[in-house]
């Protein structure tokens, strides 16, 4: 079949402009992230862009990053979850208590924590979906209550020193295969990224061919190559950063898995579409035969699951469970989603965007800390940027 392209007879730049215009949101977010990085690296004499710092930055954003994936769904469905900070603290305290005070192996403690997260998610989902209590209220109640549970479990003390395996989830890096510790590059990281790059290129080309053979509109070849080149460059850049420091942290593998799974859930499953339809127009969704109650319940269930995973990673990174762990995580997560383009009125938002949003947030944290900006200024700057981001978003959308 003929190669139908988006722009028969249009010039390369015209198609490029059109593509950028239709994907404006995503590109502006990535551009904003890059601008922030450029600013910080010039302000810190390049310290910001060193592999060591960037690797650190990625590690710092993992906890929030994991939770943004499900928070996006909650927000797309027109709800909000205020409990995740408290819950993250509680589940962290639980996993710590089980390992330290009860002497359980991490292999038992982690699955139990996961189930506890699911239970809390089901509890929230039950009230929101089947009892009609707004998510804001249900999770506000949990936010307060779980502060108490954390105190109860920790008895007001820090629980610490975990088994090495558990610690490595938050702090460890994947092992090297052949090279020694002082080699310039981490070999397994290179291999993993090479495989990822290859998989991306092959799947992209196969997808394009399949679409052409189905007679669908595809991007012109020149633009397709540009797109693949840009994404490949991004993958290679991240690979270089990680490989020239200590390799890929385990925590990032966890983040990568949850993000990939949630991107698939939101874009490729009926459930994902139901979430967007429920948030976009509840009435139309119901009358289209969608079980909106079940959809809402499942969203909160998934949120519980991801919070438990985030709690494990965070507790492992700190190597301690404290009373104040998780404080304000919910607000950082919500801010990341909003900066990443999630609409506060529901129906709009992507997991990918939210991850970029999380990166923006942690870049600000990291950059300002490098510059020794006092903590009070950090809060104010972050607040201002959140407001500014939403305003820019609204201004763009109104055009």
């Amino acid at each position: 079949m003929a190669d139908k392209t988006l722009a028969a007879g249009q010039s390369f730049t015209a198609v490029l402009k059109e593509t950028i215009r239709t994907n404006m949101r995503q590109y502006t977010m990535i551009a904003a992230l890059l601008i922030i990085w450029v600013i910080f690296s010039s302000l810190t004499n390049g310290l910001f862009l060193t592999p060591r710092n960037l690797s650190n930055l990625f590690l710092q954003m993992v906890t929030i990053g994991i939770m943004t994936s499900s928070m996006v769904m909650v927000m797309v469905a027109c709800h909000i979850d205020l409990s995740i900070g408290s819950l993250c603290g509680t589940l962290g305290a639980c996993v710590a208590f089980m390992m330290v005070n009860m002497g359980l192996s991490p292999f038992i403690a982690i699955p139990i924590t996961f189930v506890l997260g699911l239970c809390v998610g089901a509890w929230h989902g039950y009230w929101v979906a089947f009892r009609g209590v707004p998510g804001f209220i249900v999770t506000l109640a949990s936010m307060i209550a779980f502060k108490g549970v954390t105190l109860l479990v920790t008895n007001g003390k820090t629980i610490g020193e975990f088994p090495p395996f558990f610690k490595s989830i938050g702090q460890g890096y994947i092992p090297r295969l052949f090279t020694s510790e002082d080699a310039a590059f981490h070999d397994l990281t290179l291999i993993i990224f090479a495989a990822a790059l290859l998989a991306f290129l092959v799947s992209n080309i196969r997808r394009r061919n399949r679409r052409i053979s189905n007679g669908f509109v595809v991007l012109p070849m020149s633009l397709e190559i540009t797109k693949m080149a840009v994404v490949s460059a991004g993958i290679i850049a991240v690979c270089f950063i990680l490989a020239s420091w200590r390799g890929i942290p385990y925590a990032m593998i966890v983040l990568g898995c949850t993000v990939s799974i949630f991107i698939v859930i939101t874009t490729k499953t009926p459930f994902g579409r139901h979430v967007y339809a429920t948030g976009g127009n509840l009435e139309a969704a119901k009358l289209s035969g969608i079980n909106t109650k079940k959809t809402l319940f499942t969203i909160f269930l998934l949120q519980g699951a991801l919070v438990s995973i985030a709690a494990v990673v965070f507790t492992a990174r700190l190597n301690a469970a404290t009373v104040s762990a998780g404080t304000l995580f919910e607000l950082d997560t919500i801010a990341a989603c909003i900066i990443g383009g999630t609409s506060t009125t529901g129906g709009i938002g992507t997991v990918f965007g939210a991850i970029i949003g999380a990166l923006v947030m942690s870049s600000l944290d990291n950059g300002m800390s490098l510059m020794n900006v006092p903590i009070m200024w950090q809060y104010m700057v972050k607040g201002a940027i959140l407001l500014f981001a939403v305003w820019v978003d609204l201004a763009i959308r109104q055009k």
Partner: protein
């Protein structure tokens, strides 16, 4: 007797439609004047012009109240001119008490603060005038619809209304409540109140009105003394929309019974002491279009929403699809049995406006295209593009947001969504509302094509020409009951209106 109100040569246009065309309407002081007309005759538009909802300048012609030409720019202006409209959908705020509601937007203020004592005294007096013996501090949510209506009238009295417009006031009232309302209107009339009474129910018109004005197709058919009119005469005045519109012709042969509804009775959750639908029985057949006619508020949409499992309380009766009983507990079960329902309000209930054409069209049939639990996006795109071509939907790409499409194309997107579910029974609720003539004709053609494929179509429509031009059989609903059934050959505008208004 002098005229309190004269509306002269009123003309109001909406894009592409002339809603009111040179309408003259005058009301004498102290009379009860009924305004009647078929759906879409222009009654509500005329009252919106009168009350200031459509401000001066958006219509042409003069509104004369007490001999003065009025230039109303808002509802507030209308109320200053002593005109108060009470709409069918009551506008009281549920969680405020009666007194707060009565003075909402019209508070008695002294030095910046509300004088509640004075408010209560005046509210009590107004409530007495409408024979209501309730405490002004009662929460509105605890009152029945009939009582709320009287509170609205009391509210109008505190605004010193001299001209009270009641839009379909009896549609959700029980017999006793209607009797009570009429008694109060007569009392108010005795005290000099003028009242415009909009109703579909001819029996009520003859019971309460002194004079009657008939609107038809945006024009005045004349004003008559009620005592000089008969029901037959009134019906013939209401009819008369010209059948200029063309309809594609097609011969249908009715096949097997598709949907069979028996003894269908439903309670309105908002008005628990009244049956919204009362013992409805009908069948729809494969290969035919069943037209559902009736006046606004007759219960047509509610009937099909309740069959879909999306409306009503205490639903009883039986729904059978090809002889099998259908579980009508929720839309998802009914839709999976092969019933599709295109809602009358496509923007609020049919489309997710912020999503694109593809996502909207695929929404109701996602589970039909699964491949190992994931949506097969190639098949999805193929089917969506096929349907777009089939229905000739004009959209630059499938990624276009539906809010950017024209009304006709939006409607086709909703239609496409339902066709992708491969329905056996397709219920179309006002399928051509708010779309242009060309798109209407296309939708009619599509309907014929679907019927030929063996789908059973049920079409709810408030447009009589559409009902007559498209239906093989016509079911007329009045006040939640089947008022009559007509075959294509015996149906005329007069007969349908007679059934719909109870003039038979």
């Amino acid at each position: 007797m002098k005229n309190i109100l004269e509306m002269r040569h009123i003309r109001k246009e909406f894009p592409g439609v002339v809603a009111l065309d040179d309408v003259d309407f005058s009301v004498r002081e102290g009379e009860i004047h009924a305004l009647v007309g078929e759906n879409g005759a222009g009654k509500s538009t005329l009252m919106k012009v009168l009350s200031g909802v459509y401000p001066y300048g958006t219509y042409s012609g003069d509104i004369v109240i007490d001999g003065n030409v009025m230039k109303l720019s808002s509802i507030k202006d209308g109320e200053k001119a002593s005109v108060v409209v009470i709409y069918q959908e009551l506008s009281l705020i549920k969680y405020m008490n009666v007194c707060e509601n009565i003075f909402l937007g019209n508070e008695i203020v002294e030095r910046g603060l509300i004088n509640w004592d004075e408010s209560f005294i005046r509210a009590n007096k107004a409530l007495k005038d409408v024979n209501l013996n309730i405490n002004p501090s009662t929460l509105t949510i605890n009152l029945g619809v009939g009582t709320q209506q009287l509170v609205e009238i009391a509210k109008a009295l505190t605004k010193n209304a001299r001209l009270l417009v009641l839009d379909e006031p009896t549609s959700s009232l029980t017999e006793t409540e209607i009797e009570n309302l009429f008694q109060i209107l007569r009392n108010l009339k005795a005290k000099g109140m003028t009242c415009i009474f909009i109703s579909h129910k001819l029996k009520e018109v003859f019971e309460i009105a002194d004079r009657v004005t008939v609107l038809c197709d945006g024009k005045t058919r004349g004003t008559f003394e009620a005592s000089e009119l008969t029901e037959g005469k009134l019906i013939s005045l209401m009819v008369g929309r010209e059948l200029t519109q063309r309809f594609p012709t097609a011969k249908h042969t009715a096949g097997e019974t598709a949907l069979e509804i028996s003894n269908w009775t439903v309670i309105n959750p908002e008005v628990p002491d009244k049956k919204a639908l009362d013992d409805i029985n009908f069948v729809s057949k494969q290969g035919e279009i069943l037209g559902i006619a009736g006046l606004m508020g007759a219960g047509r949409t509610e009937l099909f929403m309740s069959i879909l499992g999306a409306w009503g309380r205490k639903v009883s009766g039986e729904a059978k699809l090809f002889g099998q009983t259908v579980n009508t507990r929720s839309p998802s079960t009914v839709i999976s049995e092969g019933v599709a329902y295109l809602t009358e309000d496509r923007k609020a209930k049919g489309l997710v406006l912020i999503q694109n054409v593809k996502d909207n069209m695929a929404l109701a049939s996602l589970s039909k295209r699964l491949n190992r639990g994931l949506i097969d996006q190639d098949t999805e795109l193929k089917e969506v593009e096929g349907t777009i071509e089939d229905l000739s939907i004009k959209t630059p790409t499938v990624e276009q947001l539906v809010k950017n499409l024209s009304g006709g194309n939006q409607q086709k997107v909703v239609l496409g969504k339902w066709l992708l579910t491969e329905p056996k029974v397709l219920i179309l609720d006002e399928p051509t509302r708010g779309i242009d003539v060309g798109a209407k004709y296309e939708i009619y053609t599509i309907m014929h094509r679907l019927v030929e494929r063996g789908i059973s179509i049920i079409m709810i429509s408030s447009e009589l020409p559409e009902i007559l031009g498209m239906s093989d059989r016509i079911l007329v609903i009045r006040e939640g009951k089947v008022a009559g059934e007509l075959s294509r050959d015996e149906a005329t505008q007069e007969k349908i209106i007679a059934y719909a208004t109870g003039g038979m």
